[in-house]
């Protein structure tokens, strides 16, 4: 089951570039929360701070606190431990090119030393079912490489890979931006189903997508969070002028 996320006074820098400024928000458990805003507004940096992926860039720096469930991820844990609890799906599908479909899904467990073969089969099947890919790939799980699938299938494979480690939170950084409309709608259906089980944070530049899948929406602009409210309110009656300008397409 998902857990809530509580972000307090989060600031982030890339070198001298202050990319996130004083972010405060509470992301509800087992719901989908969308983050929108023009490109370069800091929304991608923000989700990366939620599983400390920003630390793969040596010049990144963060202050403030993020609690996932009851764990302060900066004070009480190592990145490796957090990332096992917080799954991530990236902008471009990135299956492991040398691995079969099966191995891709099992990677998170296998590479962390999980050895129970029989339960692995079960976990792989369930993860693929949950990401709505099972029926398309069940016949060549170990024959085909992950890279041989279509773009949309690859992205669902990446979702299955993230689900296999049974995360509490699923971060999605523009998961459909590299996909065609049909694949995009499949991913959206999927998010709609998964949010009952996982806390989902989805970054998107597509406002209709936010409106379709998320209960809550946050609007980012220039490294600050301008407004955070129910999706319905953001899209029908935003309280900030800048949000309204963005929603109605006056900029961005």
């Amino acid at each position: 089951m998902g857990v809530g996320i509580e972000v307090t006074n989060l600031n982030a820098w890339y070198g001298a570039n202050h990319t996130l400024q004083d972010i405060n928000l509470n992301i509800p458990a087992s719901h989908a929360t969308a983050l929108i805003g023009p490109s370069g507004c800091g929304k991608s940096t923000f989700v990366r701070c939620l599983n400390r992926m920003h630390e793969t860039n040596p010049i990144a720096r963060v202050t403030g606190s993020v609690r996932i469930g009851d764990l302060d991820i900066y004070a009480e844990a190592k990145p490796v431990e957090i990332r096992r609890r917080v799954g991530m799906v990236f902008q471009r599908p990135n299956p492991f090119p040398t691995m079969s479909i099966y191995d891709n899904v099992a990677a998170g467990l296998k590479l962390n030393g999980y050895k129970n073969r029989r339960s692995l089969d079960e976990i792989v099947e369930n993860s693929l079912r949950n990401s709505a890919l099972w029926d398309e790939v069940k016949d060549d799980l170990k024959k085909k490489s992950g890279a041989s699938l279509s773009g949309g299938q690859q992205q669902r494979l990446c979702i299955a890979r993230a689900l296999a480690v049974d995360p509490e939170v699923l971060l999605m950084d523009e998961p459909a931006s590299a996909l065609d409309p049909v694949s995009t709608s499949k991913i959206e259906d999927l998010i709609f189903q998964l949010k009952a089980q996982y806390t989902i944070v989805i970054v998107t530049h597509n406002m209709q997508q936010a409106a379709r899948v998320a209960e809550k929406t946050g609007f980012f602009l220039n490294g600050r969070m301008v407004e955070f409210d129910s999706t319905h309110k953001i899209f029908t009656n935003p309280s900030d002028k800048r949000t309204e300008d963005y929603i109605t397409g006056r900029f961005g």
Binding site: G2, V3, S30
Partner: protein, 361 residues
């Protein structure tokens, strides 16, 4: 399910997740989530293994410095005897042959050693090699990058690559049995007849071995590296430079000269110097065709020797500690010279192909 996992959460349960959701999940989950989760929570953060791995890789990288230091240390250590006996004079002194009264440089029996004839031989053969190889290498590079039909480019590049992969000893073998007889029978007589007046081609060595043979074989050997590096720096010249010159109505050659060669010249010089570095240290092929005589002659057709050749030729049959030490000192000099030449060349090539060596991703 939250009840199952609750005990594994390390700290106290402050906020009950807002997940007082309907008990039936939208997706039926047959996975026992607690099993996987419990396993992953129990895994260590492997900070120790990560740090160990990191330092192991650093160690491997540092071994490169270790190798250079090791070579330097061993060569300095083992050349002490000769260094103490001759000092820096080793590199310029000469002796007099008591019988003939002529200058003499290398007498292992009487422990008289000087590196002069070998330095001369190395420099002369390398210079000859550059003289022959550079115009050809640049010509090939221009042809391959700018003129060659696409279909020919691959095979020709592959052929030059193969040239680079042939072992030195096979060039030497070919040199001994094909090149040297060819020079002896067909080339040298002509050179003596037409250019004998320069003093560079004397009719005193009937074998065909000598500086010229070494220079020719070295030229063939350094051609691939010079031409492939030249090709590399030429392709690194941005396309806009070529188009800019072409747009002014230049012919193809003018475009190559002004748009390409001018912009790549530093890198080409680097490629040439790198070729020089190879030529200076080349051992087997030179040993097999240079004649191995520690003498200095103006004539390119005379026998001579080179720094690498004398080591290869005499080391296992050295007559005493001083002889060994002198050979190692020649090796040390060769090492230092090639390090400097290669470092210089590398900087020039990097300056063109990468902008700067210290480029971040």
């Amino acid at each position: 399910m939250p009840e199952i996992r609750a005990p594994q959460i390390p700290s106290q349960k402050l906020k009950t997740p807002a997940a007082q959701k309907p008990a039936v999940p939208a997706v039926p989950s047959a996975v026992e989530p607690s099993l996987v989760r419990r396993f992953l929570l129990a895994r260590g953060n492997s900070a120790f293994a990560d740090r160990g791995f990191h330092w192991l890789m650093v160690l491997c990288a540092l071994s490169i410095f270790g190798i250079v230091a090791l070579i330097l240390w061993q060569l300095v250590l083992r050349s002490q005897l000769s260094w103490h006996a001759f000092g820096f004079r080793f590199f310029y002194q000469s002796f007099t042959n008591p019988e003939t009264g002529k200058p003499m440089y290398w007498d292992p029996v009487n422990s008289l050693f000087s590196a002069v004839p070998f330095i001369y031989g190395t420099l002369l053969s390398s210079f000859l090699a550059l003289l022959l190889a550079v115009p050809l290498a640049v010509g090939v590079a221009v042809f391959l990058t700018e003129m060659c039909p696409r279909a020919l480019r691959g095979p020709l590049a592959f052929l030059t690559e193969l040239l680079a992969a042939i072992p030195s000893v096979i060039y030497g073998l070919w040199g001994v049995f094909v090149l040297v007889p060819l020079l002896r029978e067909h080339v040298n007589p002509g050179l003596i007849q037409w250019f004998g007046w320069t003093g560079l081609f004397n009719n005193d060595n009937p074998t065909g071995l000598g500086f010229l043979a070494a220079g020719v074989i070295l030229a063939i050997m350094i051609l691939p590296i010079v031409s492939s590096l030249t090709r590399e720096v030429m392709t690194a010249v941005p396309h806009s430079q070529r188009e800019a010159v072409l747009a002014l109505g230049a012919t193809r050659w003018e475009m190559i000269r002004m748009g390409v060669l001018r912009n790549a010249r530093i890198g080409i010089v680097g490629a040439i110097i790198l070729g020089l570095g190879r030529a200076l240290g080349e051992t087997m092929a030179v040993t097999m065709v240079i004649g191995n005589t520690p003498e200095i002659h103006r004539s390119l057709l005379s026998n001579g020797s080179s720094m690498a050749a004398v080591i290869a030729n005499e080391f296992t049959e050295a007559v005493g500690d001083m002889h060994l030490s002198a050979l190692i000192e020649i090796g040390l000099a060769l090492f230092i010279v090639t390090i400097i030449v290669n470092a210089f060349a590398q900087l020039l090539v990097w300056a063109v192909t990468r902008g700067a060596p210290a480029q971040t991703h």
